[in-house]
C-alpha cells in the first residue's frame, strides 16, 4: 500500500489544458474521491495515474517511486472501469485471475486469492460463467474482484457505479466502503455524483475545468466551501447565492439586509444553504438574521421535509428546505417572513 503524489500534473489536448497543473497528495490507506462536473478532467487525471495517458508535464509518485515514465503494468495499480471491461472470451474465474496469471503467480496463490475474492464479493457460484451471462451488478463485482486479487498498492475507480440502477448503486456504495475498510487499501475514486462522493470519501477533492477547487473532509467541504463553484456543486438542493454589497457594516442584496460585524466594504456574494433558511419564529433571535419578507411561490412536500421556492427581488428564487411540521397554514402565493441562520452564512468575493 502507498500514497500518491501528483506534482504540477498537466495534460493538454490541442490548445486546452484538460488537467491544468494539479498538485495533490493522496493519503495512504484512505478513500479519496475526485468529484466534479462532466468534462472537468477527472478521468484524464486518473488515467495519468494509471499510466494510460501520458502527461504533458508534471510528475506522478506512488509511494516513493517516481512512476511518471513507467508502463501501467509496472505501477502496481488496479483499475475498475465504468463499463467493467471484463474480457468477454474468458470465464469469470479467468477474468479474476487474469492479473495474477499475467504476473506468473503460482497456482496455489491464484486459487487461494480467487477463492477469497469470490467469497468476499459473493460471486462464487458465477466462477465458471462468461461475463455475457452476468447482470450489471454481478459484472461489477467481478471487476472489483479482479482488482482485489492483485493486492495492488493503489486501487483506481472510474465511475464504477454509474451503469447500475439507483438502488443497486447505493448498495454497492456501502459494499465498496466496507471493502476499503477491510483491506485498508488506498483507493482513488472518480465520480460526477456529489452525493456519492460525499458518501464515500475520507478525503474529497472537488475539481472544475482541470483544476482542484477544494479538498478536505466531505463535511468540512460542505460546511466551509471556499468558492461559489464548490458551494453550489456540493450539496443538493444547491446553495442559494445572492449577489449584493457590503457597505458600512451592512450586507444588502435583493432587498435582504444583514448586519455584518467585520465585513470589508465592496461587492460580495451571499451563500445560504436551503436548510439554513427558517420561518421567523423557528430560530432564537440571537441566532437569526434580520427578517425579510418573501413570496411563497411553490411548496414541494418531500415527506419529513418540504422544499419552498421563495421569491425575493430578482429572478432567481431562493430554495428553502424546512421541517414539514412548521408548514402550518402556509399558502402558495402569499407572503411570509423568513430569517437565515446567522452562523451559517457564507460570503464569497
Amino acid at each position: 500500500m502507498a500514497g500518491i503524489r501528483l506534482e504540477r500534473l498537466t495534460k493538454r489536448y490541442g490548445s486546452k489544458n484538460v488537467v491544468d497543473g494539479i498538485d495533490l497528495e493522496i493519503a495512504e490507506g484512505q478513500f479519496t474521491v475526485l468529484v466534479g462536473p462532466s468534462g472537468c478532467g477527472k478521468t484524464t487525471s486518473l488515467r495519468m495515474i494509471a499510466g494510460l495517458v501520458e502527461p504533458t508535464s508534471g510528475r506522478i509518485y506512488i509511494g516513493d517511486r517516481d512512476v511518471t515514465d513507467l508502463e501501467p503494468k509496472d505501477r502496481n495499480i488496479a483499475m475498475v472501469f465504468q463499463n467493467y471491461a471484463l474480457y468477454p472470451h474468458l470465464s469469470v474465474r479467468d477474468n479474476i485471475s487474469f492479473g495474477l496469471r499475467a504476473r506468473k503467480k503460482s497456482k496455489a496463490v491464484i486459487d487461494e486469492r480467487v477463492e477469497y475474492a469470490a467469497h468476499l464479493l459473493n460471486v462464487r457460484e458465477l466462477l465458471d460463467r462468461k461475463p455475457g451471462e452476468l447482470s450489471g451488478g454481478q459484472q461489477q463485482r467481478v471487476a472489483i474482484g479482479r482488482a482485489i486479487v492483485r493486492q495492488p498498492e493503489v486501487f483506481l475507480f472510474d465511475e464504477p457505479l454509474s451503469n447500475l440502477d439507483a438502488k443497486l448503486r447505493v448498495e454497492m456504495r456501502t459494499e465498496l466502503l466496507r471493502l476499503q475498510r477491510a483491506l485498508g487499501a488506498t483507493m482513488v475514486y472518480v465520480t460526477h455524483d456529489q452525493e456519492e462522493s460525499m458518501a464515500l470519501a475520507d478525503e474529497l477533492v472537488v475539481m472544475n475545468a482541470g483544476s482542484i477547487q477544494q479538498r478536505g473532509r466531505p463535511q468540512d467541504v460542505y460546511d466551509h466551501p471556499t468558492n461559489t463553484f464548490v458551494s453550489t456543486f456540493i450539496g443538493s438542493p444547491a446553495m442559494n447565492l445572492v449577489e449584493g454589497e457590503i457597505a458600512s457594516g451592512v450586507y444588502e442584496g435583493r432587498g435582504i439586509r444583514i448586519a455584518v460585524l467585520d465585513g470589508l466594504p465592496g461587492p460580495v456574494t451571499l451563500g445560504v444553504r436551503p436548510e439554513h433558511i427558517h420561518f421567523i419564529d423557528d430560530l432564537p433571535k440571537e441566532e437569526a438574521t434580520e427578517p425579510f419578507e418573501a413570496l411563497v411561490d411553490v411548496i414541494e412536500p418531500l415527506g419529513a421535509r418540504a422544499m419552498l421556492s421563495l421569491r425575493v427581488g430578482g429572478s432567481q428564487p431562493l430554495r428553502a428546505v424546512v421541517d414539514s411540521r412548521w408548514l402550518g397554514g402556509l399558502i402558495e402565493g402569499e407572503f411570509s417572513e423568513f430569517v437565515f441562520d446567522r452562523n451559517r452564512l457564507h460570503f464569497f468575493r
Binding site: 499510466g51 472501469f81 487474469f98 492483485r150
Partner: protein, 266 residues
C-alpha cells in the same frame, strides 16, 4: 396480398440468381452435339467435359490459385490487421485515413499493371507466382484493412487498457486480449480476401499468363481459336465457383458486418 407479392418477388429474384448456375451445371454435362441447341432440356448426361477439364490440367491451375490465394491472404491479414488496429485505436492519420483506405480500389488495375509488369521483369520473376502475389496484395490489403477497422472499432478501448494495467505490455495486450475479440472478423476477412485473389483474371493473365496459370486464366483459355468450348468451360467455371459460394454462405453475416467496416464510426 402483400404476402403473395413478396413471394412472387422472391421467386423472381431466386430465378434470376439460380438460372445462370443451373444453366452452367446443365451445360457441363451436355455433349458437344447437345450443346449446339441450348433449349434442349432432354439429353443424355455425359462426363466428357469434366474428364477433358481434369485432363487438361485445370486442377493444376486451381492449385496454383490456391497457393496464390493462401500466400496473399496470410500477408494481407498480417499487414491489414495491424494497419486497421493502428487506424482504429491509435487514430493513425486521423479520420481521413479510415475513409481513404479504399481509395486504391478505385484505381483502374490497368494503371498499376504496367509498373508491376516491369518490376516483375527486372526482378526476373515474370510468369511466376512472385509476380502475381504482390499484384493481388494491391487490392486485397486495403479491403482487409477496411474490413478489420470496423471490427476493431467494436472492441472497447478499456479492454486493452485493463489488460495493460493487469500486467500485459502493449504487444501481449493486443495479441492476447484484443485479437481474440476480432477473431470472427478475421476469419471472414480471410475468406473474403481469398475470394478476391481467387477471382482475379486481369493481373494473373498479364503477369503470369504463360506457364504458371491461375484458375481464371486457365478458364479464359477455353475461349480458343476454334471458338468457345462451352462444355469444358462450364465444368471449369463450376470448379472455380463452388468453393467461393460455399465459403460466402458460411460467413455471410460477418461479411456484411465487415463490409460496412470503417464507415460505422465517424
Amino acid at each position: 396480398m402483400m404476402n403473395r407479392l413478396r413471394r412472387v418477388l422472391i421467386a423472381v429474384a431466386l430465378l434470376i440468381v439460380v438460372f445462370p448456375y443451373a444453366w452452367v451445371v446443365i451445360s457441363s454435362i451436355k455433349s458437344q452435339a447437345d450443346l449446339s441447341d441450348p433449349t434442349r432440356l432432354v439429353f443424355t448426361p455425359t462426363l466428357v467435359n469434366w474428364r477433358a477439364v481434369v485432363e487438361g490440367g485445370i486442377l493444376g491451375s486451381a492449385a496454383t490459385s490456391v497457393v496464390v490465394g493462401v500466400v496473399t491472404v496470410v500477408i494481407a491479414l498480417i499487414s491489414g490487421t495491424l494497419a486497421a488496429y493502428s487506424i482504429s485505436k491509435l487514430r493513425t492519420g486521423g479520420d481521413k485515413t479510415r475513409f481513404t483506405v479504399l481509395l486504391s480500389e478505385m484505381m483502374p488495375p490497368a494503371v498499376l499493371v504496367i509498373p508491376l509488369f516491369f518490376l516483375a521483369l527486372s526482378a526476373g520473376v515474370r510468369d511466376t507466382l512472385f509476380a502475381v502475389i504482390p499484384a493481388h496484395l494491391t487490392f486485397v490489403v486495403p479491403v482487409v484493412t477496411w474490413f478489420m477497422i470496423g471490427f476493431f472499432d467494436a472492441v472497447p478501448d478499456e479492454l486493452e487498457e485493463q489488460a495493460r494495467v493487469d500486467g500485459y505490455g502493449r504487444v501481449r495486450a493486443f495479441s492476447k486480449v484484443v485479437l481474440p475479440q476480432v477473431l470472427p472478423g478475421l476469419g471472414a476477412a480471410a475468406i473474403f480476401a481469398f475470394i478476391l485473389s481467387w477471382n482475379d483474371l486481369f493481373y494473373a493473365l498479364i503477369l503470369a499468363g504463360g506457364n504458371t496459370r491461375t484458375l481464371p486464366v486457365a478458364i479464359a483459355g477455353f475461349n480458343t481459336f476454334r471458338g468457345v468450348e462451352l462444355g469444358t468451360m462450364s465444368a471449369a467455371i463450376l470448379i472455380s465457383v463452388v468453393p467461393v459460394l460455399t465459403a460466402s454462405f458460411f460467413v455471410q453475416r460477418r461479411l456484411i458486418q465487415g463490409l460496412s467496416g470503417g464507415g460505422v464510426k465517424g
